[in-house]
């Protein structure tokens, strides 16, 4: 126990003597979390301060194009800029000056009216409500609303815009059909025969903490995800710490001392776990106090603090285990630092920090199940967003603990094998 304490104190001294290193350890994760949350905040907001400028070429100038234009403007997501020429709009979008352009074809409103009226007339005559007169149907060509996207535009943005416009057009078509029927059936235009409001609506039911809804926002999503990312980044300084011991000769001396490798690693584990928890506390403080001051939602941790600390501790242990293993195997800092940094990014990617696991390809979804960052993220989300209890997060905690134990055991076994006499 005395040797473990001495090792811990030594690690503490080494860390505190490197002021620059400490600053990086604590400040950079905060910079990361603030930056990412500020960037992602707008995607969670229904009302955004930032409007995306888009081009609209209105060749129709009728009621349909007016409805589309108003719909886009009222969505508050877009700033609609009118252009008269399709080629000019195409040029501007393909050169990356605008994200997208919408080209509304000529006579869209009038042709839609004609098409719908023709169809309604046909239906009504079949029901025998009108005298059957053989009228040759007009040939009305299908209309095409053209969309141009900047090639650099992300697929998710394109999909959501296309869905939005599609929904808008469907609604216009439906309303036009209702209107046509109304005109055919009743002579009084003020008489309401058809209820044009949506019959089917949807309501999002949120999980509750007591009688309070848990409303997800960018902060509730970003703080756990990027906290975890920062915690796992501990593997870089930790592996460098071990490689340094080898290169400066102190590890050789320790090998001749009557002290086990487990004790040496134990000292490092305790100090770096404290570092992880301090990082975690700082990030919570940023979420609670700094975010509201800069216009972001406040991080709500009410009643969840003990569970959050438990998750942070176990995630920290998993990250430390990985760092100790990497430091044990790596021979130089040139091996450990780039590998560690890249590996954390990979773990984050497959763990669901960048994109949600459910939209990943099947193979990556399976792979994410073996990412400790995914276990940690799920545990954090259980606590932050799903109002989970200790029992709910127990499987993830056990996986994180098992990961720590396995990595530590491999590190010790590797060291024993390499240095066996």
């Amino acid at each position: 126990m005395h040797k473990l304490w001495a090792s811990t104190y030594k690690e503490f001294l080494l860390l505190t003597r490197d002021i620059g290193g400490i600053a990086i350890l604590f400040i950079m994760p905060l910079v990361l979390i603030i930056t990412i949350t500020l960037i992602q905040d707008s995607t969670f907001k229904t009302v955004s301060d930032v409007k995306i400028p888009i081009l609209l070429v209105n060749n129709d100038n009728g009621s349909v194009s007016e409805t589309i234009k108003n719909g886009l403007s009222e969505s508050n997501a877009f700033e609609v800029i009118l252009k008269s020429n399709e080629n000019e709009a195409k040029e501007l979008v393909f050169s990356g000056k605008y994200q997208m352009a919408i080209i509304i074809p000529k006579d869209l409103s009038s042709d839609l009216d004609k098409k719908v009226n023709q169809n309604v007339d046909g239906i009504i005559s079949k029901f025998g409500l009108e005298e059957e007169t053989e009228i040759e149907p007009l040939e009305i060509p299908n209309k095409e609303v053209k969309l141009y996207f900047d090639p650099a535009t992300q697929v998710s943005f394109k999909s959501s815009v296309k869905n939005g416009i599609d929904k808008m057009i469907s609604k216009i078509e439906t309303q036009t059909i209702y209107k046509a029927f109304q005109e055919q059936i009743s002579d009084d235009p003020s008489e309401v025969i058809f209820e044009t409001d949506n019959f089917i609506t949807f309501t999002e039911i949120l999980p509750q903490d007591g009688d309070k809804d848990i409303i997800p926002n960018s902060v509730q999503h970003n703080v756990p995800a990027w906290t975890l990312f920062a915690i796992f980044f501990i593997i870089v300084p930790l592996s460098i710490n071990i490689v340094k011991e080898k290169s400066q000769g102190t590890f050789v001396r320790l090998r001749t001392n009557p002290v086990s490798y487990a004790t040496v690693l134990g000292g490092k584990t305790i100090v770096y776990l404290i570092v992880c928890l301090i990082q975690f506390v700082l990030m919570l403080l940023v979420g609670i106090y700094l975010f509201p001051a800069i216009g972001l939602p406040t991080l709500d941790i009410s009643g969840r603090l003990p569970l959050l600390f438990i998750v942070a501790t176990f995630a920290g242990l998993a990250a430390i285990g990985l760092g100790l293993l990497l430091g044990t195997i790596a021979k130089t800092q040139e091996q450990s630092a780039p590998f560690g940094a890249t590996f954390v990014v990979i773990l984050a990617a497959i763990g669901g920090v960048w994109v949600p696991v459910f939209i990943m390809p099947k193979f990556m979804q399976i792979l994410s199940n073996i990412s400790p960052m995914n276990w940690g993220l799920n545990a954090f989300y259980d606590v932050f967003l799903r109002n989970g209890s200790l029992l709910d997060i127990l499987p993830e905690l056990l996986l994180l603990l098992a990961f720590f134990l396995v990595t530590i055991l491999i590190a010790i076994a590797y060291n024993e094998k390499k240095n066996a006499v």
Partner: protein, 247 residues
């Protein structure tokens, strides 16, 4: 005290043995010098005896103990002063020594007193609370030495303990080692400083190509080889370089 039987070591990828079928017996309280040109196998032999590397074949025991059976007992029995400064550069001399002393189970006031006494003996007490990276080479060598003797080892291995230090530091180090030897510590040391070895060692072995060419008391070796006046002459004659130099 130290019984070495048929020890050999061949590194991976090497065609030659660094140490080849080496037999040696070192008695208690000896100051034994392992001398030889670069690559002769001195550091390899010391590393094997300190359990830092595994021999390819052969066996050895220290005080009748082997690493296979008495690993921790042996580690408590020996001290090693490695060639490089095996110290934490950002920690002070005192913090380094306190840590390495703790690894031998030493603690409290008795450890502090031991550290202070050794620092004083080697002229470093005024610098006890300065970080190692502010020390000169000679000062680092002295702290490196203290880190290895705080637990009063019965056997002390030193791999070129005076390399790259000034004359003053060298004299202090040699004097300190002689005091340790008088108190009963067996010393095994390697060096390229043959004059230093001649006056310091009670017995030496000259190693080349992993084999012991000769061994004995320095004065006896000088007498055995006619026309030699000191250990350096003997060394040059036996390793063949003297002849080449005269050719």
């Amino acid at each position: 005290m130290i019984q070495i039987e048929q020890i050999s070591k061949k590194y991976k990828g090497s065609d030659n043995f660094s140490v080849s079928n080496l037999d040696l017996f070192i008695q208690e309280k000896e100051i034994f010098g392992l001398l030889g040109p670069n690559g002769a196998g001195k550091t390899t032999l010391i590393s094997i005896l300190c359990s830092l590397i595994k021999p390819t074949s052969g066996s050895f025991s220290i005080n009748g103990l082997t690493y296979q059976k008495h690993k921790n007992q042996l580690k408590q029995l020996i001290g090693i002063v490695p060639q490089e400064y095996a110290l934490y550069p950002t920690l002070t001399a005192f913090e380094n020594l306190k840590y390495f002393g703790s690894m031998y189970g030493l603690k409290g006031k008795s450890l502090d007193n031991k550290i202070n006494a050794a620092l004083e003996h080697l002229g470093l007490l005024p610098f006890a609370n300065k970080p190692i990276d502010t020390f000169s080479g000679g000062m680092k060598r002295r702290v490196n030495l203290i880190a290895s003797i705080l637990h009063d080892p019965k056997v002390l291995f030193l791999d070129e303990p005076t390399v790259g230090v000034d004359v003053q530091s060298k004299n202090v180090i040699i004097g300190f080692l002689q005091d340790l030897n008088k108190k009963g510590t067996t010393i095994i040391y390697t060096s390229h400083h043959l004059n230093e070895a001649e006056s310091f060692c009670t017995r030496v072995a000259i190693i080349d190509h992993g084999k012991i060419i000769t061994k004995g008391k320095p004065a006896e070796l000088i007498n055995e080889h006619h026309g030699t006046h000191n250990l350096e002459d003997v060394f040059l004659r036996l390793t063949g370089k003297a002849l080449r130099d005269h050719a």
